[in-house]
Amino acid sequence: MTVDAPSLHDPLIRPIGLTGVLFTFSDVLTDDANHMALAFRAQIESQAIAGVIETSTSLTSTYVSYDPCAVGLNPLIARLKDLLSQTKPSSLGSPMGRRLWRIPTVFGGDAGPQLAEAAAMAGLSPKQAIDEIAATTVRVLTIGFAPGQPYLGPLPQNWNVPRQSGLTAQVPAGAIAVAIRQMVLFNAASPTGWRLIGQTAFRVFRPEATDPFSLRPGDEVQLVPVSQREMSALRARQDGSNGGASCEGGS
């Protein structure tokens, strides 16, 4: 079976089960497709569409969950296509505005035992790798898998390194792992196929907080290198600073 590759204005539209439909803008991660997925979701959220229960985005897709007793699949798709024709990727931005986060991170050592390996695959020394990551403002491309857990990227092209073939049994909460031009900041201790390069004291999900999800899709993030000693001091702080992170912008 051959299928034309999906594009920004001719997405692949696939139902999932009886209650979901997925619009996919690219079968590989691109900035444009990610922007489009976010912008299309914002456009759908700005309308009150009968039967739509909730929406979300993955890296390059927009997902709509709906009540099939309230709206049929075909009328829903027709309505969504109409909305899509009015959506431009440049209209990116969550309704609350984009924010820039600076998150202290320890790279390498016990906190990031696979830094050297990942750096070598990216053609860099460990020091160069830290500098390059710290100099890159990444975006929250999507939040998924676990509550509040961001996929951060894109990193420069040389970071298009594959996942490892095996699984790391466990990385801790707050861990930074890298693969395919992205980094995950882990919500909770978890097994992973991505390479562990660093550690933050930042909690992406805080059920006790008024706003339990720290990051939003579209937010910008800079990882700020700190020493293990500085990280220990940050961890000891009891002032609710969330790992020493700072946030500007938004509303």
Binding site: I16, G17, L22, F145
Partner: protein
């Protein structure tokens, strides 16, 4: 006025407070969660004549001992379990009056997997993002523990009689209808045909996130072993691990995943999937969206039908341990919830 409570003196593992979960957080990486068997929630609401959104206790495999602080109504639904009140047997799929101080004892499951204890007025534990559901995989809430005193909401139906329901059997497996999903086409026609012809059983390795399926035969590999981008997933999805072994996703599943999924069990059949005990035979039949829609019924419609089908509970006089309670309640006690 004192809020009525239910004290927990003994409890099975992983018993949690569950309602219909919290839709609206998918974009933040949190799946809806909520009761694994939503039909059981609807049946409980029908038996007690109350709202579908009230919280109950979900009991996987084993219940516990509970003592009421004040007159209460309860309903028992889902997988039938042994149940007594002050030693007298209690009928399952029925609602009952409980007097203050009476001891409710719910034991092991008889068939199926998840039993439910509902309470008139619902459990009034704190809400998080509009739901009382524990979502253990997501780090929300905790299992019910011995010594917990569970608050109960006001019950406007304390003067109602007990009811019973004849429920549709969903505790012995069978054939589940499967709809296509994002990755169905990655599995070749032969693989899909073999999947539909295979007998599966749930293994004991599972929880509210998902459960592994066992079967005889070769793994169900996709034609393209290329890594696919992670896409949204939902309860009822059947994903294949890297080894081609099927794993069914349940209410606390992750919100996205990169393993290919052969299809999604239609919502109407998820209770049957959830309630299959390990070893019970399950089969999957692919169906089209149009066909499925012709057979689909909303949870509201199911609840309304259950409400219309409930009938007065008839019990043998020698089992009526709480007869005195009934006489009192119909005569004069209504007070606490209005004070």
């Amino acid at each position: 006025m004192t809020q009525p409570t239910l004290r927990v003196d003994r409890i099975g593992p992983a018993v949690t407070v569950q309602d219909l979960g919290r839709p609206g957080q998918l974009a933040m990486g949190l799946s809806q969660g909520g009761a694994a068997d939503r039909y059981a929630i609807a049946e409980g609401a029908a038996l007690l004549g109350q709202d579908l959104g009230l919280a109950a206790l979900e009991m996987p495999g084993f219940g516990g001992d509970f003592v009421a602080s004040a007159p209460l109504r309860i309903a028992l639904t889902g997988a039938p379990m042994t149940a007594t009140m002050d030693g007298a047997a209690l009928q399952w799929n029925a609602s009952h009056y409980v007097a203050a101080g009476q001891r409710l004892r719910i034991g092991a499951v008889i068939s199926g997997a998840y039993g439910y204890l509902h309470i008139g007025g619902g459990f009034a534990t704190p809400k998080f993002l509009n739901s009382r559901s524990a979502h253990l995989a997501g780090g929300i809430g905790a299992p019910v523990a011995v010594g917990d005193v569970l608050p109960v909401g006001p019950d406007s139906g304390l003067d109602q009689p007990g009811y019973m329901l004849d429920v549709v059997d969903r505790f012995s497996g069978g054939t589940l209808r499967l709809l296509p999903g994002v990755h169905t086409d990655l599995f070749g026609p032969e693989i899909r045909a073999r999947f539909a012809a295979t007998r599966f059983t749930k293994t004991p390795r599972g929880n509210r996130q998902g459960v592994e399926l066992a079967f005889d035969g070769a793994p169900f590999a996709t034609e393209q072993q290329l890594s696919v981008l992670s896409e949204p997933m939902l309860p009822g999805d059947i994903q294949m691990t890297g080894q081609g072994m099927p794993y069914v996703l349940l209410p606390e599943c992750q919100t996205t995943g990169g393993y290919p999924r052969i299809g999604t069990v239609m919502p109407d059949d998820v209770p049957k999937l959830v309630q299959a005990a390990p070893g019970v035979a399950l089969r999957f039949a692919f169906t089209s969206h149009t066909e499925a829609m012709a057979q689909h019924r909303s949870l509201d419609a199911f609840a309304a039908e259950m409400h219309s089908k409930r009938r007065a509970l008839i019990r043998k006089p020698n089992e009526i341990a709480d007869l005195l309670g009934y006489q009192l309640i119909s005569g004069m006690i209504t007070g606490w919830e209005q004070e």
